[in-house]
């Protein structure tokens, strides 16, 4: 069986730029000049999926989602 693949998606309406995600996952998430997250496109590397999941539940607005990609 193939390992599931994931992508990070920000809901820009819910996001208020708290910046928690960028702090927890600097490997994949940066901040723009106004403090809003810039998320790398594409698949989350398998080794970072657990950290990415932690970032999603730590977002105070629950604006970050780990979406399972169709294989």
């Amino acid at each position: 069986m193939r390992r599931p693949r994931y992508q990070l998606v920000v809901d820009p309406i819910a996001c208020d730029g708290a910046g928690v995600c960028a702090e927890l996952l600097p490997e994949l998430i940066g901040l723009d000049p106004w403090g809003f997250p810039v998320v790398g496109a594409g698949e989350v590397p398998p080794g970072l999926v657990e950290l990415a999941r932690r970032a999603t539940v730590s977002c105070p607005r629950l604006a970050l989602t780990l979406v399972r990609l169709e294989s």
Partner: protein, 423 residues
């Protein structure tokens, strides 16, 4: 009743004067054939019809997604909100030949299995639609229920999820984040929803009557048929012109070299579209794919011919400030980024030497907003700015070296309603 053979289709039925009432409409086009959903979906697929609201998405694909999208009965939204200040074709169509649009909505409803159609238009068009619906009800033309919902007079009103929110009475005219849940799955009243531009529906009404082969007899393989363009800058007032897709604008508008010399540049696709050098705009095939190939978009068919003698930088600044004010104010990158873009253009227009980072800062700023909104509002503004920087590079350089233009006669239509005012 006969299929139009020339390149004029929608406007062929629009008469030369007033409103085409139901009798005249039926005399010109005949009654809609009563056929199954399967036949209609196949006809629309084969026709190659694409969405004329601005996205140019294949209509057959969209209809199938809604038809097979969920377990509850779908809803059709006939979208005539037309928030682009420089567009008038949807309003024109609904005023002059409303029955063609309503026929198209009935065709879409039959194709996707909807029993309800919502006509979504701004206040000034409501009476036109209601008059036409009354005629149809009196004659018992339709098998599905129609109602009319008034769209707020805002730029974003016609955006798909914003239209659904207006119909649902929650956050009218404000887009939602649809990446994880689209309106095709859950839209009006939580039902699978087809939001389709009214011009697209009018084309569908003719495809249902005359078939996909007839439809493809004009246009290109990828973009068959015709498109309604709202053309500003050639006559005293804007005009609606039906252009065969793939024809050149120069030919369709009858613009010769002499006249072209008076046109500084062309904006296609309105304020979310892109600028092109006049020669390119006049000679390229008028389709979405060729416009995209040049970094622009024909969008909803807006064509603005900017005359010489107008400062394009001041125009761009005015437009971007307007677009900043028309944002929904929901997404951080758009709220912050469009304001900085507008401010930067204002500097370039009026105090060019105070623009930090120079003209090169503008494309960088565009990169900070692209793809980062819930809707494509920031993407459209970024395209407008990027192409303005390219097409007006020489003019911008003159601002920096010699100072701003002295006269800045405004040309592009920008509603003067104060930002944030209730309309």
């Amino acid at each position: 009743m006969s299929a139009p053979t020339g390149p004029t289709r929608l406007l062929d039925g629009a008469g030369s004067g007033g409103v085409v009432g139901l009798d005249a409409h039926l005399a010109r086009w005949g009654a809609l054939p009563r056929v199954t959903s399967k036949v209609l979906l196949e006809a629309v697929d084969e026709s190659g019809l694409r969405g004329h609201g601005g996205a140019w998405f294949p209509v057959g694909t969209k209809w199938r997604a809604v038809a097979h999208g969920g377990r509850s009965r779908p809803v059709v939204v006939a979208n005539g909100a037309e928030g682009e200040p420089a567009s008038g074709k949807d309003r024109f169509l609904l005023h002059r030949t409303p029955h063609l649009v309503l026929d198209g909505a009935a065709v879409a409803a039959a194709a996707v299995g909807a029993s309800r159609v919502v006509v979504h238009v701004t206040a000034r068009t409501v009476a036109d639609v209601e008059r036409a619906l009354a005629e149809r009800a009196h004659r018992g033309v339709d098998t599905c229920a129609f109602d009319v919902v008034t769209a707020p007079d805002r730029f974003l009103s016609g955006q798909e999820s914003a239209a659904v929110n207006t119909v649902n009475g929650r956050n009218p005219g404000i887009p939602s984040f649809v990446r994880l849940r689209t309106v095709r799955d859950q839209g009006v009243a939580g039902r699978p929803t087809l939001v389709q531009n009214v011009e697209t529906l009018a084309h569908a009404a003719l495809i249902a009557r005359f078939g996909p082969q007839w439809f493809r007899s004009v246009g290109t393989h990828e973009s068959p048929g015709t498109v309604l363009a709202t053309v500003t800058g050639l006559w005293d007032a804007p005009r609606i012109v039906e252009v065969p897709l793939g024809a050149t604008l120069g030919h369709a508008l009858g613009i010769g070299d002499d006249q072209a010399r008076g046109i500084q540049a062309v904006l296609l696709g309105g304020y979310g579209g892109g600028w092109l050098p006049t020669a390119t705009a006049m000679s390229m095939p008028f389709t979405e794919e060729s416009a995209r190939g040049h970094g622009s978009s024909i969008g909803a068919g807006v064509v603005l011919l900017l005359p010489t003698g107008v400062c394009p930088i001041a125009e761009a600044a005015r437009v971007v400030r307007y677009m900043e004010g028309e944002g929904a104010g929901q997404c951080g990158p758009c709220v912050n980024g469009l304001d900085v873009l507008a401010t930067s253009l204002e500097h370039l227009a009026y105090r060019p030497r105070s623009l930090r980072g120079g003209v090169a800062a503008l494309p960088t700023l565009c990169g900070l907003v692209e793809g980062r909104g819930a809707c494509h509002h920031p993407d459209g503004v970024a395209r407008f700015v990027r192409t303005a920087v390219d097409v007006f590079a020489d003019h911008a350089a003159l601002h920096v070296s010699r100072g701003p233009c002295q006269t800045t006669r405004p040309f592009l239509p920008v509603p003067s309603v104060p930002v944030g005012a209730t309309r």
